[in-house]
């Protein structure tokens, strides 16, 4: 499997090695170093805004505080961005949900029969290799330039991690456990329900996290292309850019970033809530 981001089986080794031999305890609280980096970035930002750009070109990189005073603190603009973010979130979540259902079903189908795997897996890989952007205009052609097309872009972009992770999770079932089920005459459906699916859950959640991030990307990209209907963040971004509304553009970009972070964090939380109790994750 090519793009499995989820690394299993290392738990045992990492657990025994990392835990007791904890690295030298530093006296600096862990939030300090990132804070220093943030300060440095802001400093460079101001430097560029005020020193390297003259007044007429300052719109290329407005100083950080102007993004707040010129956009985020302006109620109308904030409302626009908020509403657009909400629409984008909905598109991304619907797309993600469909990708999860389709991806898990696809992987389960492949796991149940060798011939299904050999006939379907290549297409999962091809789907991953196709630059989805190249297909986007075609999607508009077929499905119209509105809401459904945006969702379809999300699905296509978010599908592969779900397929590959679920399949991997199912196939990584311990052979001993498989034999135990076989020994006691478990039907295929029982094996799937009581063994393979629960075993795949951590990998499925890992896939969801990746797919969630991709779905946000898909929703924004879909917005760029499918402008009919109510504008999402992508449409807003591209409007602000066209009208050289620099502060607003930056504010919208910040909103898009926050959206990505929030969705990623939410799925991380969900994963920990569902499988965190029993699954010994290798990443902390």
């Amino acid at each position: 499997m090519t793009t499995t981001v989820w690394a299993p089986k290392t738990e045992v080794e990492t657990k025994s090695i990392v835990k007791p031999a904890a690295r030298r305890k530093s006296r600096v609280p862990s939030f300090v170093p990132p804070l220093i980096v943030a300060t440095a970035v802001l400093a460079v930002w101001y430097l560029v805004s005020y020193v390297f750009l003259d007044q007429t070109r300052r719109f290329l990189l407005p100083p950080p505080h102007e993004i707040f005073t010129g956009a985020i603190f302006v109620p109308d603009i904030l409302a626009d961005i908020g509403l657009a973010s909400l629409r984008t979130t909905i598109v991304a979540l619907i797309g993600l949900l469909i990708a999860i259902v389709l991806g898990v079903a696809w992987a389960v189908a492949m796991s149940q029969a060798r011939w299904l795997e050999t006939s379907l897996f290549p297409y999962a890989v091809i789907l991953q290799c196709i630059p989805i952007l190249a297909l986007v205009p075609l999607i508009g052609f077929w499905f119209g330039f509105e809401y459904p097309a945006r969702v379809i872009v999300c699905v296509m972009i978010a599908l592969f991690p779900m397929v590959s992770n679920t399949l991997f999770g199912i196939q990584s079932v311990d052979p001993g456990q498989r034999e135990l089920f076989r020994l006691h005459g478990a039907a295929r459906w029982t094996v799937l329900r009581k063994l393979e699916f629960p075993n795949a859950l951590p990998a499925i959640f890992a896939g969801m996290r990746i797919s969630a991030g991709l779905a946000v990307v898909g929703a924004i990209v879909g917005d760029f292309f499918f402008r009919r209907g109510e504008p999402g963040l992508g449409a807003l971004i591209s409007n602000y850019q066209a009208q050289i509304q620099s502060e607003e553009l930056f504010a919208a970009i910040i909103a898009a970033s926050l959206l990505g972070i929030v969705i990623f964090a939410a799925f991380g939380w969900l994963s920990r809530a569902v499988v965190g109790t029993w699954y010994e994750s290798s990443d902390r």
Binding site: D174, G176, Q177, E179, L180, F181, R182, L183, H184, G185, A186, T190, K194, L195, P198, N199, L201, V275, T277, W278, Y279, E280
Partner: protein, 259 residues
């Protein structure tokens, strides 16, 4: 070497066998012969250990007895379908608590919930796991995991118990404790046991009979009746008779190597 057993082993002539191997050969598609000419009968109430060098096909015996694999030639007769199989690994489901893991087999066999829970509770009591019902496998030590695995197999009231080096990965102290518990269980339940191990002293300590296998292709080269009464006194391990018998088994094992 055959010594009279002190225990009520049913006389060999009239004994029904619970599992019987007759001239069993096991050949894999790649041409390796794992077993050849194996004859072994186990009667109800017997606990037979098999020792032999690695790769001699000991585990294959269990796979044949359980029906996971089928012999290339010869016959394997098993007179019961209540078989408990304890693997080398505990093979617990990490998302299930001890209790739910122990219930698994009964669940797979469609035992109704109330009965299943009662059986699980009894098995947990028997294996000294009371108080750990809600623990997850990752919270258990290796020995506790093995106990859970044992408890899980016990819920089916097996008439035949197959053990594939179940204590091989444990430290010696835990291993000896589990040996004693297994002896106690055996004395109470009187299932027939087929126990694969690398450890000669474990084999002698646990069994009513020890079978020695030769290297590949695996065949039986010697058998020893173990005369000590059941349940075994842990102190027996340090007796001269025990040492003499383990010595004999070791000797046969070495001869099997060179054969």
């Amino acid at each position: 070497m055959p010594v009279q057993t002190a225990e009520p082993l049913i006389a060999a002539t009239t004994a029904p066998t619970i599992v019987g191997f007759s001239s069993v050969e096991m050949k894999y598609p790649d041409g390796t012969i794992a077993l050849s000419g194996v004859d072994l009968d186990i009667a109800p109430g017997e606990f037979v250990s098999v020792v032999g060098p690695s790769g001699c096909g000991k585990s294959t015996l269990l796979r044949l007895a359980s029906g996971l694999e089928h012999a290339s030639s010869g016959e394997v007769d098993v007179a019961t379908d209540r078989i408990g199989y304890v693997f080398q690994d505990a093979t617990l489901l990490p998302w299930r608590s001890v209790e739910r893991n122990v219930e698994l087999l009964a669940e797979l066999h469609g035992v109704p919930s109330a009965e299943r829970k009662a059986k699980a509770k009894a098995a947990i009591g028997l294996t000294d796991l009371t108080g750990f019902e809600k623990h997850l496998p990752k919270q258990l030590s290796g020995g506790m995991k093995m106990r859970t695995s044992l408890a899980r197999a016990l819920t089916l009231d097996p008439e035949l118990f197959l053990f594939d080096e179940p204590f091989g990965a444990l430290d010696e102290i835990t291993r000896e404790r589990l040996n004693d518990e297994l002896i106690r269980l055996f004395a109470e339940r009187r299932f027939a046991g087929l126990f694969i191990t690398h450890s000669v002293s474990e084999a002698v300590y646990l069994s009513t009979r020890v079978v020695v296998m030769s290297g590949r292709p695996g065949g039986i080269v010697a058998e020893f009746e173990v005369p000590f009464p059941m349940p075994r006194d842990p102190e027996i391990r340090y007796s001269a008779e025990f040492a003499a018998l383990t010595g004999e088994v070791h000797h046969a094992l070495r001869k099997g190597y060179s054969a």
